[in-house]
């Protein structure tokens, strides 16, 4: 049994490591494809009907520019990471082309609807930025962390230095509006489905601009599994008299 555990553990580690290395390299090289893309786009303006460039255009993911963006560099970062994901799915050993997995989308902003945002109103005080795992008693006591099998604590996903942002695994700033990029770092299969419509929920229309809900609209990030609920009432038994007859017959049986 121990041996098998070891093998599985080893396999998991190598897989994670490989993906980590891949994503990291893509992140580092992230600049290169965007520049190429920008160049091709620039050249496409002179030759608008070039088929190659059209292919690239369709891959591009549109991101809505929301009002009151604090950090203008943020957008470049998220676009880079999206480019990285796109490049990942473009790899030769993955059988589909990257177009397959992407439909342009928009996500309704979420950050300004958060009750306690901006977080830095309180967290500017260095004393309360305590990264040690403990029972939360004074504040945030309603948060019951049930995610990641006890391997997580607040700083896993929240940036310690600037609590107004989420933290990617590379310790980069991520806006609360783009939390899907954070979730996708582990749940990349789900993220792939979410990009192409197999997971998640579209709102408003079936035609035109595709607006889909962020992961956090349905899943509580601190306890993401969907909880059991009482169902709405069942339909009436239309054949009630028949059932009475059956019941009477069953008495005499």
């Amino acid at each position: 049994m121990r041996g098998s555990e070891f093998i599985i553990g080893d396999y998991m580690n190598t897989r994670k490591l490989l993906i980590g290395i891949l994503l990291a390299t893509l992140g580092f090289l992230g600049g290169a494809p965007t520049i190429q893309f920008a160049e091709e786009k620039a050249s496409s303006e002179s030759k608008p009907e070039s088929p190659d460039v059209e292919g690239l255009k369709s891959v591009r993911i549109e991101i809505q520019d929301f009002k009151g963006e604090e950090n203008p560099e943020m957008d470049e970062d998220t676009e880079k990471s999206l480019e990285g994901i796109r490049e990942f799915w473009k790899r030769e050993d993955i059988p589909h082309d990257s177009d397959f997995y992407f439909i342009p989308f928009q996500v309704p902003p979420r950050r300004d609807e958060l009750e306690l945002y901006p977080c830095m109103d309180c967290h500017e005080d260095e004393e309360i930025n305590n990264p040690i795992e403990r029972v939360l008693e004074e504040e945030h006591e309603d948060i019951k962390l049930n995610h990641g099998g006890n391997r997580f604590w607040c700083p896993t996903c929240h940036l310690l230095t600037n609590k107004n942002f989420l933290r990617s695994l590379k310790s980069k700033e991520l806006s609360f509006d783009r939390s899907y990029l954070l979730c996708g770092q582990c749940h990349f299969q789900r993220q792939k489905d979410w990009f192409s419509g197999g997971h998640g929920k579209r709102i408003g229309n079936w035609n035109g601009d595709r607006i889909i809900l962020n992961c956090t609209e349905c899943h509580n990030p601190h306890s993401p599994s969907i909880k059991p609920k009482h169902p709405d009432p069942p339909p009436e038994h239309h054949q009630a008299p028949y059932n009475i007859v059956v019941q009477i017959l069953e008495i005499f049986r």
Partner: protein, 335 residues
């Protein structure tokens, strides 16, 4: 008595037989005390009929001026939706508005949106996401102005045993404290909008047909409520209106469509129309909007970049009772 009547009927068709007593020939005989009584009775009846006729014609003349009577009269003699001219359709829509105003005291909007070109609607449902909360069922009831009592539900959520596709073992009356239950999965079934719909072929009056955008619709005014389509449909999608529409005034949805959610009369069939009044305006169906787990995907099958086409290409999908060759446009898939 019954017996002899039967015999005389027989005698009309066949040459008279010798054993047959001449029971039907009383009236031919003339002077009888009975016949005088009968004469008076007949005269009285004729007199009353005449008087009734006179009053009724007077009443009818008065009624013809009445708007309510005119509306029901014209509605009764209204043509089939597909054969109506533009003027007739606008007349019919105005009539429906007046009737709704009279019956429910609401200002209804009855639309007549034509199908959008190059659109074929399709639906996909993720059964690993459906948890059987029945939110879609009640959203559908509200959106489509469905009679509240007796219950009619266009969507039937089947509780199935894990590892089995035996529909006979399924239960749609489940009501546990919390869902999902262990060892069960949930399979919502509604109208599958078949490309080869058996209900359309079964209809003796051609009151139901498939629109160019793939939606199977009913002209409620042309339906005679014969239930043939109920028997023909393998997905239990067709429902009969047993009672007058029992709708609370404040809950009536006012944006309606002639072929969709306008309040129906008693004695006609009705079914899911993919919320024709919403989807032809670009909106999503009510069940899609209500689903709390995002299990439902709706879109255009002819658009290769729509979510539904990608699901059909990317995921392992199946359709219900595919072996019947109904070619439904409703797919189920898993994660």
């Amino acid at each position: 008595m019954k017996h002899s009547k039967h015999r005389t009927q027989g005698a009309d068709q066949h040459p008279p037989e010798g054993e047959n007593p001449s029971s039907g020939n009383d009236s031919a005989r003339g002077a009888d005390p009975v016949s005088r009584r009968r004469f008076f009775a007949k005269a009285g009846a004729a007199g009353t009929a005449l008087a009734l006729g006179a009053t009724s014609t007077a009443l009818a003349a008065k009624a013809m001026e009445d708007e309510a009577f005119q509306d029901s009269w014209n509605q009764y003699f209204q043509d089939h939706y597909q054969r109506m001219t533009k003027e007739e359709v606008t007349e019919a829509l105005a009539r429906l508005k007046r009737i709704a105003k009279r019956n429910f005291e609401v200002d209804l909007e009855v639309a007549n949106d034509p199908p959008i070109e190059n659109v074929l609607f399709g639906y996909a449902l993720n059964i690993s996401k459906c948890k059987g909360y029945r939110k879609c069922v009640y959203a559908c009831v509200e959106e489509n102005n469905i009679t509240r009592k007796p219950h009619i539900h266009y969507i039937r959520v089947l509780e199935m045993n894990n590892g089995s596709m035996d529909l006979e073992e399924s239960d749609h009356y489940y009501d546990p404290d919390s869902v999902p239950r262990k060892g069960k999965f949930y399979l919502p079934v509604q109208c599958h909008h078949c490309e080869n719909p058996p209900c359309v072929r079964a209809c003796p009056t051609k009151a139901t047909w498939k629109e160019p955008d793939g939606i199977v619709v009913i002209d409620y005014n042309w339906c005679i409520g014969c239930h043939y389509c109920v028997v023909a449909c393998p997905y239990w999608a067709r429902h009969f209106n047993w009672e007058k529409p029992n709708l609370p005034e404040e809950e009536i949805v006012k944006k309606t469509h002639y072929l969709g959610n306008r309040p129906r009369m008693r004695g006609v069939m009705e079914k899911c129309t993919f919320c024709i009044q919403r989807t032809r305006k670009g909106k999503l169906p009510a069940c899609h909007e209500a689903c709390p787990t995002g299990a439902r995907v709706f879109g255009n099958l002819l658009d290769p970049n729509s979510e539904i086409s990608r699901i059909l290409r990317d995921k392992t999908v199946f359709r219900l009772k595919e072996d019947l060759n109904t070619d439904p446009k409703f797919w189920f898939y898993t994660d």
